[in-house]
Symmetry: C2
Subunit: 148 residues, 2 copies
DNA sequence: CGAGTGTGTTACCATAATAGTAACACTATG
DNA sequence: CATAGTGTTACTATTATGGTAACACACTCG
């Protein structure tokens, strides 16, 4: 299966906040850019705030701002914040047959292999920050100006 | 979300076939080791055969064998065979607002970032073969002999 | 001080993917 | 020809997800 779109939307949200330059943005405004429901945005923001990436100001005139510089928020931070904290790969639903030499030991081996793969993925994500994404979005807009 | 257990079960199956040393194994036997239904195993085998990793002999006395040496089947081959061929990361369900500078360009940027992460994951998987898994299973059995 | 704006959270629904299960046509062996 | 075994389909239960509405709470501003 695929990794949920929460990651994509969360990066989108954080990029929007970076464009705000400290001005708090409302979930309704962000939902307009993402093209979804404000409550969906707030659910993501709840996870991001819990991870210390954003900070919300309640009440009228409130909204959300980045809790630290965009250059210090890696995509791995975002991934960890919004995706399930457990391992990326599922193992067997039912425990394999312990009487079979393969069944008895395969899961330990699989855990090592899939764990290494997940680390490789996260290391790649760690090499890019929200500031990088922001810069690429700007560059993209310059190369394909308002097309479509 | 998580990557389905199909990958784990498929690696398990291929490891079992390697233990068979050319003898065809039945889906019922393998289901006994995996601890699931034979039809589930056959569904996986169908995908593995389509990818050219296994070969089945029909009829009585039939079963499945590896189509090429275990040392030439990487975990990336297995991953590609049984997981959806599309991208690992989902993007937005609804297309983001094209009137927003961020919404208009974020998906192209996300595709690059998530694509690189997926490549990193697959490259890590490519470094391990079914023969490696087999060897690790044997080693594991030596270190933790028949415990539990 | 009170109206209004906006967050945080809950509950509920529709949809999709997954794994388990049974069934059956077909194929090859012996 | 009887049997063993594959390949495939259909159905079900479970789970994750995203969309939606609702509401209590918090804060600002007039």
């Amino acid at each position: 299966m695929t990794i949920s779109s929460r990651f994509a939307v969360a990066v989108h949200i954080l990029t929007l906040l970076e464009t705000g330059r400290g001005e708090p943005l409302t979930s309704e405004y962000m939902a307009g850019s993402v093209n979804t429901n404000p409550a969906v945005v707030r659910r993501l923001l709840s996870l991001l705030a819990r991870a210390g990436l954003t900070r919300a100001r309640m009440g009228a005139g409130g909204g959300t701002v980045l809790a630290r510089p965009a250059a210090e928020i890696t995509l791995r931070d975002v991934y960890r914040a919004v995706e399930c904290e457990g391992p990326l790969f599922s193992l067997h639903h039912e425990r394999p047959n312990p009487k079979c030499p393969v069944g008895r030991n395969i899961q330990a081996v699989l855990e090592r292999a899939t764990g290494a793969a997940q680390v490789a993925l996260e290391e790649q994500l760690r090499g890019r920050t929200v500031a990088d994404v922001m810069a690429e979005v700007v560059a993209e807009g310059r190369e394909a100006p308002a097309s479509r």
